[in-house]
């Protein structure tokens, strides 16, 4: 079946070339911006990697988006968070807020480190990226709810969530929490750093919201069989 399909997939390019859109012919391959992959000399490649390289020399490749860099500091999760925080396409402001947040978190943790007694010093995490990732992990729900119609009524049914959906929910809750529940004079980066540090130690409103979702799903266990997929 694969053989017949590949015969059908001609390397066509539309007359109007859509470079920035995401609907490409499946013939196109993903771009690979990581430099290390290309530094490996010919001799050390495994057969799969050799095949991949040959394929890349033949097939066309999708255009890389502007936010993807070959920089060693490129973090896809953080980029996604910046995009979600962005308003009206103003990525400079969103990126600025995130960098200020990371700096703020690092400063708070380093000051805490200096004040801590010797025994406690090793436990304090000063890496803002590690804190960010761990906090996001702690906010991700394990199970979600969806509205299913059965017999004229809508029931909240517990369903499993995909990884992407869980990550999206965690980020969305974090951002809405920081936008809504803050004092008028508190700046966004200040509130965000407070929330992230709280989520890192499993306290705070976002983790509370996750627990509430879990409790709702637990209480609606009876309707689980309404899910047919």
């Amino acid at each position: 079946m694969a053989a017949s399909l590949t015969g059908l997939l001609k390397p066509w390019t539309p007359r109007v070339l859509l470079v920035r859109w995401s609907r490409y012919n499946p013939y196109y391959l993903e771009p690979g911006p990581r430099k290390e992959v290309y530094h490996i000399p010919e001799t050390e490649l495994t057969p799969e990697q050799k095949e991949e390289r040959e394929l890349k020399s033949v097939r066309p490749i999708k255009a890389a988006t502007n936010s993807v860099t070959s920089s060693v500091f490129n973090d896809p999760v953080l980029s996604k968070f910046v995009n979600m925080m962005m308003k009206d396409g103003d990525k400079i402001i969103a990126k600025g807020i995130i960098t200020q947040t990371l700096e703020n978190m690092k400063r708070k943790q380093v000051e805490k480190y200096h004040k801590a007694p010797e025994g406690k010093k090793a436990e304090i995490e000063c890496n803002p990226y590690a804190i960010f990732h761990q906090a996001l992990e702690n906010c991700k729900p394990v199970i979600g709810l969806t509205s299913i119609q059965k017999g004229g009524k809508f029931y909240q049914v517990p369903i499993p969530l995909t990884d992407n959906r869980r990550r999206f929910l965690a980020m969305k809750w974090m951002i809405t929490e920081c936008r809504d529940n803050k004092h008028r004079r508190t700046l966004m980066y200040e509130k965000l750093s407070q929330e992230l540090l709280a989520a890192f130690s499993k306290e705070g409103n976002v983790v509370k919201r996750k627990h509430e979702l879990h409790k709702m799903a637990e209480s609606n266990r009876a309707y689980a069989h309404y899910r047919w997929w």
């Binding site: 530094h39 060693v72 500091f73 960098t99 700096e103 690092k106 380093v110 000051e111 000063c126």
Partner: protein
């Protein structure tokens, strides 16, 4: 499977390192480990010589610590705000010994103080370290027992002034009570020990009932200026005049260092407006008028060290950094002749030193936390992103 068989043959081998597919990852880890095992007593980027007078070319590129006891007396104001944050986070104030500051200090050591004052002007692109060099020189002057007149930013006196009172002393001038009293308070902190030694040579009358007699200590004048905010600008003028007269004196003579940051704000335009919405020229402000008299080289027994600054300046393009562009005609003519001291971006050695300082884990936890920033790749990227500009590098390392 390879790892499993290794552990079977070598029961005492705790690390069954399965070699990763990408060879570069292993090499980077070993580099990072190599840096950590450097012996603690030997650091390339720190020096134990904390006295600016004894620093020489061999200390170029190294960081020296300002003793914490001196810190609040020498620098109540005048440090860049991001540097103050850094000092608070690291619990120590470390300054890099750089070429412009050393040059300035060597000039100050060899100058003849019976001749009219020499004026030194630090200039350079944005973020190259002019204010920090100025602060280094101020620390030197302080340790040598000079009286330091440090104006943290002359631009603060020509913009954002909420209260502009017409001056009591001179009809067409304007007073700025808040700025003047703030400055006097900081001046008092810096020069405590001089305040009782210097005696006034003239009688100053403030109002019908208030006056300060001849022979009173300077401290009384300063205290009066801080408490009576209305006449604080005139007090500043009086203080400057007294110090100018007494600086080169043979009896009880002290050396006076006038350190002005953002000196290009004294000539140019202000954003202040009079009540009839007409703009105020800088000459019409008492503080600016008196400071200009101070910068003239008609007195002896000290030095004037000034910095240009585009950051706070008004109506100046952001690409301007040369003295001619920022001072304008009037300013350049008043400052002429001066000794120009260019401040450049970090050299390779200085960049190395700065990078190692941020990476240092003995005195404080790594400031550079991102695992990739500690590798060679990350370092090359930092050089590329910051172009070795000190302030840009500081901002980058803050969030990495």
């Amino acid at each position: 499977q390879i790892g499993f068989s290794l552990s079977q043959c070598h029961p005492f081998c705790h690390q069954t390192q399965v070699r990763p597919l990408h060879g570069s990852g292993c090499g980077q880890q070993q580099e990072a480990i190599g840096m950590e095992t450097r012996p603690e007593t030997f650091s390339i980027f720190r020096t134990q010589e904390n006295d600016p007078a004894c620093q020489s070319e061999q200390h170029l590129g190294q960081y020296y610590t300002v003793p914490p006891s001196h810190f609040h007396t020498v620098f109540p104001h005048g440090l860049p705000p991001r540097y103050q944050q850094q000092v608070k986070t690291f619990n120590e104030g470390c300054v890099m010994v750089r070429q412009p500051a050393l040059e300035l200090i060597s000039h100050l050591k060899r100058a003849d103080y019976s001749k009219p004052t020499l004026r030194y002007l630090l200039y350079g692109v944005k973020g190259s370290g002019k204010t920090m060099s100025l602060c280094h020189t101020v620390h030197y002057c302080s340790t040598q027992g000079w009286l330091v007149l440090h104006i943290p930013d002359a631009h603060l006196w020509v913009k954002n002034c909420k209260e502009l009172l017409p001056s009591s002393y001179h009809a067409s001038r304007f007073d700025q009570p808040i700025q003047a009293s703030n400055w006097l308070r900081n001046f008092r902190t810096t020069n405590e020990h001089f305040l009782s030694k210097i005696k006034l040579r003239q009688r100053y009358v403030w109002t019908k009932r208030e006056s300060t007699e001849e022979g009173r200590p300077l401290g009384e004048l300063v205290d009066m200026g801080v408490s009576r905010v209305k006449s604080s600008s005139d007090v500043v003028g009086a203080v400057l005049k007294e110090l100018r007269l007494q600086a080169g004196g043979t009896e009880g003579g002290f050396r006076l260092a006038v350190a002005v940051d953002g000196v290009n704000g004294l000539w140019g335009r202000t954003t202040l407006k009079k009540e009839d919405k007409s703009p105020v020229a800088p000459e019409e402000l008492t503080l600016v008028h008196n400071l200009r008299k101070m910068i003239n080289n008609d007195w002896c027994g000290g030095a004037v060290i000034a910095t240009l600054s585009q950051t706070g300046s008004l109506y100046a393009p952001s690409s301007a950094y040369l003295p001619q562009e920022l001072l304008g005609e009037e300013g350049f003519d008043s400052m002429d002749p001066f000794v120009p001291v260019p401040v450049s971006l970090y050299s390779e050695k200085e960049f190395e030193s700065c990078y190692l300082y941020y990476l240092d884990h003995i005195h404080f936890h790594h400031w550079l936390q991102h695992p990739h920033s500690q590798t060679e790749e990350g370092k090359k990227e930092l050089i590329f992103l910051s172009n070795r500009n000190p302030s840009v590098l500081e901002r980058l390392c803050a969030f990495l």
